[in-house]
Symmetry: C2
Subunit: 249 residues, 2 copies
């Protein structure tokens, strides 16, 4: 049987691997991961997107390629090309995946496989969309994938900020640099007067992120166009990924 | 050993049992359950609140009684009295509950226990805050608790509405009347011009709820005061529970 490659050896041609993480589901992590990948591609980089969110692999839908199947060549899977990036997802490989089976070591193993058995040779910058959470699976990927850094996505509600702060501590414990936090669904542009406002006032947990010296990479408005674009597979690239990307390098 | 009571026999003195459910977590189900209970109490009813959300028992915190412990008398647990209602929650009984252990039959059994072993004799109207979801646990409680009806809480995003519609089908399949849907975090009041707007436009899934003849009981604005009140244990009773309660009877 072939020797199992260590993740550090995987995707060796890739210059930077950026983790996009969240402390809890539903904060827009996959949306931000897609945004970041598209933003980097728009800057001229050769970008890959590894959808490791095995519980909710929404990347194929968001890229409008849910019905595509990756081809294989020379024992390696070829990423699917869409909107100028190279994407791989368990969502491409299985129909009606049952999320219940993905626990602990099985989940980590599946994600390692996505890194190991895919031909990333056409990619310089690889964005990894992690499953939501800050537990063993996320720790294991963070330790093995040798990432350049991690971006944590949150919403402005306390319940999400608490989980994001836990994520900061987790990444620092495994010595993965925290590039910063993206605050999603943070503001609302009033359709009557046109002015944008914070939906939640800045509170103690925002101060805690400052105290921990975590860069705030930007805030994204809650916007039905973003949700609709994601459902239709026509993602909207918002302004922030460029600043996030710029900070990453 | 004592014969296991059927849930139908449980809390026999209670006139109405109202389920508050959701298709997915984080939509404000517990907030609405607390609101409904307080609204009914304000109308003069003798109200109980059974926090069956074993995965995230936030009711004690929302009522400001997280550090209270229910007393037992005559083999029955006495509910904790707070803000004019009688409340019971696994959150009162255990420290740092590990949600991982609550799967399938164990979860249903724990919730049956909360109905069976509690002295509900001082209560006419019992609100049941279910765990989020529309699976076996929810079906089992719906079948066994002989409820008057169910209120489903959602947010206006498609991902939540899809899950809420699945909840409608589930309750109808087990012949529990769907009192209606409460749409939470639905609007935003602009702090600049004061006008309220829908955050998401009404879409195909709203039409589907109309087509299914599900009453829309009302929409609640996204409001930091609600979140802050919930964290502080000083719940804000919004206007809608009275209409929801009125429809229930
Ligand atoms: N800024 C936003 N405004 C409105 N809807 C959003 C926004 N960001 C994400 N969404 C929507 O919220 C839902 C959850 O987003 P997703 O990226 O899948 O979250 P996660 O990966 O954290 O579970 C999706 O339907 C998505 O289109
Ligand atoms: N209308 C609202 N505006 C702002 N925050 C809200 C609103 N409704 C609920 N919340 C907050 O959202 C979080 C989740 O609410 P919760 O009732 O616990 O949801 P669920 O029971 O569906 O998981 C809580 O912090 C709560 O205070
Ligand atoms: Zn305005």
């Amino acid at each position: 049987t072939a020797k199992r490659p260590l993740i550090e050896d995987l995707a060796p041609g890739v210059r930077h691997k950026i983790i996009v993480a969240s402390g809890k589901g539903g904060v827009g992590k996959s949306t931000v991961a897609v945004n970041l990948a598209l933003g980097l591609a728009a800057q001229g980089h050769r970008v890959g997107l590894l959808d490791a969110d095995i519980y909710g692999p929404s990347v194929p839908t968001m890229l409008g390629v849910a019905d595509r199947r990756p081809e294989a060549t020379g024992g390696k899977l070829l990423p699917v090309s869409a909107h100028g990036i190279q994407a791989v997802s368990l969502g491409f490989l299985t129909e009606g995946l049952n999320p219940i089976i993905w626990r602990g070591p099985l989940a980590s193993r599946a994600i390692e496989q996505l890194l190991a058995d895919v031909d990333w040779s056409g990619v310089d910058e690889l964005v990894l969309d992690l499953p939501p959470g800050t537990g063993d699976i996320q720790i294991s990927i963070a330790q093995k994938a040798n990432p350049t850094g991690a971006i944590i996505v949150t919403t402005p509600q306390d319940v999400a900020l608490i989980d994001a702060i836990r994520g900061v501590h987790m990444f620092r414990k495994v010595e993965v640099p925290v590039i910063g936090v993206v605050e999603n669904m943070s503001t609302f542009a009033c359709p009557h007067c046109g002015r944008e406002s914070n939906i939640f006032p800045r509170g103690a947990l925002h101060h805690e992120l400052e105290r921990l010296e975590v860069p705030m990479l930007g805030s994204i408005p809650i916007d039905p166009a973003v949700a609709a674009g994601g459902d239709r597979g026509e993602p909207i690239v918002s302004a922030h990924p460029d600043s996030a990307a710029a900070r990453a390098y």
